[in-house]
Amino acid sequence: MTDPKPEIARHPVIEASGLNLTFDTNDGPVHALRDVNLKVDKGDFVSFIGPSGCGKTTFLRVMADLEQPTSGSVLVNGVTPEVARKARAYGYVFQAAGLYPWRTIGGNIRLPLEIMGYDKAAQAERVRKVLELVELSGFEKKYPWQLSGGMQQRASIARALAFEADILLMDEPFGALDEIVRDHLNEQLLALWARTQKTICFVTHSIPEAVFLSTKIVVMSPRPGRITDVIESPLPKERPLEIRDTPEFLEIAHRVREGLREGHAYD
């Protein structure tokens, strides 16, 4: 009766209602987000897709407490983004790997753990574990410049996973990588998601990437930034790369494309 756990489990992981965000610029106010409503459940893989200026990154930053909404609310794990951030509820992966050149790969992954006050033994254990998770075991002592771009981005994902947050917020993490590396990382990310049961919010502007990865695709459009369509993907959880040639896949991709076209003003 008084067990609090089922209570928490009932909360969606992310819950945005009536969310608005307006930036005041020299050219007047910019509506980055208008009336955004969205629920993300535990274990979802949600992609946010849309042209630049549609507010997908801004929405992610609101979840991460890096931007403050003008009105409306966002709850992360049932609490405000600020409380969630301080409770280390999420790991954030930026567009660039952003590894510190003066730290080894291991040292970079240890960085958030040091900041959060883990003891040395726990740090070493977690570094080992997440490096294995992103298939970079053996690279702990290497420096970032000794790794390829794809490997650096994997290391930055490992860093976001190191402190075992349940939510992974990813802002176009593979945007700067070439197609082949990207396919490989997408497969790895799916495997990682299956193993860790994390809830992932993933910003992208690639339709195949969004359809391939997600259980839920959020289509957004600009001026003002808003959600135009939310597609629940019927694709199975097991997804080999070849799934991209199936009719189901192409059908979802088509719907995403239609959604993007509708929302786009072409002015």
């Binding site: 930053r61 890096l66 951030r85 999420y90 952003g98 003066w102 900041i115 970032p144």
Partner: protein
């Protein structure tokens, strides 16, 4: 090593120009002397004379070299006639002033980066401080400090500090602000404290800027120490040698003191450069 030939070429060009200039500048005195003795100088005699006068307007390079050799190598370093002794007097004030200036500049930069009030107010004063000619301020600093019983090394070091804190402030403000928005956001997602953000991100990121500033600060510091010795009748130091040389028309002494000052500055700045290269290379920042 591939720099050797260009460098030697430039040095050679300077030496040739220098010899030529000393003929031009010292010629008049030699001709006047000869006229007084009713002698006519051949060109060879004239040139030889201009390169060996006791108090030339511009001493020839070999005269300066001989003076340097005599005052550096052939005198005990504790002797007041040793240029090494005078260089050390100046260098000690330079180093103390450099240390004080670096510390002061660093603290000011910290304040400017972290305190909005200082950010809005301090920089114009810092810039204004450097527009005042140091030659005008130096005697005042020394007189005032003397009046409160501080003399010797510290007043000179204060003048060095006055000149050397400036590049450190400017460089460190830029350096501490060099982390990108993304890097700062990243720290925020980890709920890092200001202290953690400073020690783990801002400080390491600022090192390339710090080293560049330190090189300028070191050179400025040496100038400050020499200027500090000029207006006070100091009895020791490169500034004192310059002053004594100009009182007695000892141009050879002036030039050897100048060259010593340049050598000291080059060595000190070069040392910082070596530390910079090693450190930044190890940090993967170059």
């Amino acid at each position: 090593m591939r720099n050797v030939i260009p460098v030697l070429t430039v040095v050679l060009a300077i030496v040739v120009l220098w010899y030529g200039a000393s003929v031009q500048l010292n010629k008049q005195w030699a001709l006047d002397q000869a006229a007084r003795q009713d002698r006519v100088l051949s060109t060879a005699e004239l040139v030889a004379d201009t390169w060996s006068q006791a108090k030339p307007k511009l001493p020839a390079p070999h005269q300066v070299a001989v003076e340097l050799w005599e005052t550096v190598a052939q005198k005990a370093v504790t002797s007041k006639r040793s240029l090494v002794y005078h260089a050390w007097v100046t260098l000690s004030a330079t180093l103390l002033g450099f240390a004080l200036g670096t510390a002061f500049g660093f603290l000011l930069a910290l304040g400017i980066v972290y305190l909005r009030v200082m950010d809005m107010s301090v920089m114009p004063w810092v810039i204004a401080s450097q527009t005042i000619p140091i030659l005008a301020v130096a005697p005042m600093i020394i007189v005032v400090l003397n009046a409160v019983g501080v003399s010797g090394l510290l007043p000179k070091a204060m003048i060095s500090m006055y000149l050397s804190f400036f590049p450190v402030v400017v460089g460190m403000v830029k350096g501490l602000r060099s982390p990108s928005t993304m890097q700062l956001d990243q720290m925020r997602t980890w709920s890092a404290t200001r202290r953690q953000e400073f020690l783990r991100l801002r400080l390491p990121s600022s090192l390339p800027y710090l080293f560049a500033s330190l090189k300028i600060a070191m050179a400025a510091s040496l100038v400050g120490a020499i200027v500090g010795e000029l207006p006070t009748g100091a009895v020791a130091g490169l500034g004192a040698r310059l002053l004594a040389g100009s009182y007695y028309g000892q141009t050879v002494q002036i030039w050897s003191a100048l060259i010593m000052a340049a050598a000291v500055a080059a060595a000190a700045v070069g040392l910082i450069g070596v530390i910079q290269r090693v450190t930044l290379k190890r940090m993967g920042l170059n």
